[in-house]
């Protein structure tokens, strides 16, 4: 059963939305969802890498020998990660500093690697591009939802661009726990449980 092109795109937004349905790429999900700005910045970076690595790997899928495919995929993904790294360093330096080590670590993020292996090496360029774009967008949405929840409850403010905007006024008692490490794990766990309830067939 071949999917239509629209379905290739939309499956990433709900049916296979990472990191909830495909439990991949957890490290950045936990680490950078402390503010909304970090979350969608990371999401956009991953989307870029995922889309372009999918396109290139799909274009090269008949040339890459199966035995060295993993190394070939890593080289392709690493190339685009370096592009993202340099672009962010040049144009969004503050965000680059905040995301820090998690930008180079997109190389070992399971999502681009997983999609290269499971999808781009078997499908055409248009389909792979839509697949990458859809999953990347889904990842961005998922990170943003998680980050909004964590940041609003934990600090009573939300960062859309650079400066946090206070939402509840001075009477709000911040719940710092949620932006610290333990809160990240518990939030993501609860979110996964919630998605399981919503998605029950």
């Amino acid at each position: 059963m071949a999917k239509t092109l629209v379905q290739e795109f939309t499956k990433g937004l709900w049916a296979e939305i990472p990191p909830f349905r495909l439990v991949l790429g957890l490290c950045p999900t936990l680490a950078i969802t402390n503010t909304l700005e970090n979350a969608y910045g990371m999401g956009v970076a991953v989307t870029f890498v995922l889309t372009f690595s999918n396109i290139l790997i799909s274009a090269l899928r008949k040339i890459i020998p199966p035995k060295v495919r993993i190394v070939a995929f890593i080289v392709v993904i690493a190339t685009f990660v370096i592009v993202v790294e340099l672009v962010m360093q040049a144009y969004t330096y503050a965000l680059f500093l905040k995301l820090g080590i998690f930008i180079p670590l997109i190389v070992v993020n399971c999502i681009p690697m997983g999609r290269a292996e499971a999808f781009a090496s078997k499908n055409g360029m248009v389909r792979s591009a839509l697949d990458g774009l859809g999953l990347g967008l889904g990842y961005t949405i998922a990170l943003s939802v998680l980050a909004t929840f964590r940041q609003v409850i934990a600090t009573g403010a939300i960062t859309i661009y650079e400066t946090p905007i206070s939402l509840f006024g001075p009477a709000f008692e911040p719940f710092r726990f949620l932006v610290e490490a333990p809160g990240a794990f518990i939030c993501l766990g609860l979110m996964l449980g919630l998605m399981n309830i919503l998605g029950k067939k």
């Binding site: 190394v71 690493a78 790294e85 990240a184």
Partner: protein, 192 residues
Amino acid sequence: MFGDLAVLFFSCVLINNILLIQYLGNCPFLGTSKKMETATGMAMAVVFVLVLAGIITWLVELYVLVPFNLKYLRTMAFILVIAALVQFVEMFLKKSIPALYTGLGIYLPLITTNCAVLGVCLINIQEEYNFFQMLISSFAYSAGFGLALVLFAGVRERILLARTPRPFQDTAIGLVTAGMLSLTFFAFKGWV
């Protein structure tokens, strides 16, 4: 000198635990912690590879990337070094130490995409550690990884026996448990 290194060691194992505080290497953390045997196998493999990878990437940075002004290729150079190293270690162990090879088994190839390995190598460079500090930090971070993984596997084996609500089974409850474990490591903050 010795005191500083000891402080570095304990802060890498406990205060900045790679899994629970720095959030690196979570995919194998959740994937291999369902049984104690797989957890110890993974922990040993990570210690072994991470110390070697730390040394080699540190030398690559010092003697290849910096002199030839290729720092912007660091990400690619490091991941390729790690991938090649893992492959090499696998072949070497298979030939000369088969007992260790069967012990580590399928966990060796998985390490290439373990972000804790690449992460620690990058941290070593960013913090501008010298050789001994790099050695201590590589070993201590991987020991911290093993400690957290084995503790978590012990807890998770018990959870299998408990009655969890259906939507929370497996990964969801695993993450909540990891949060509790992370809270205990959090208590070490302010110790040094």
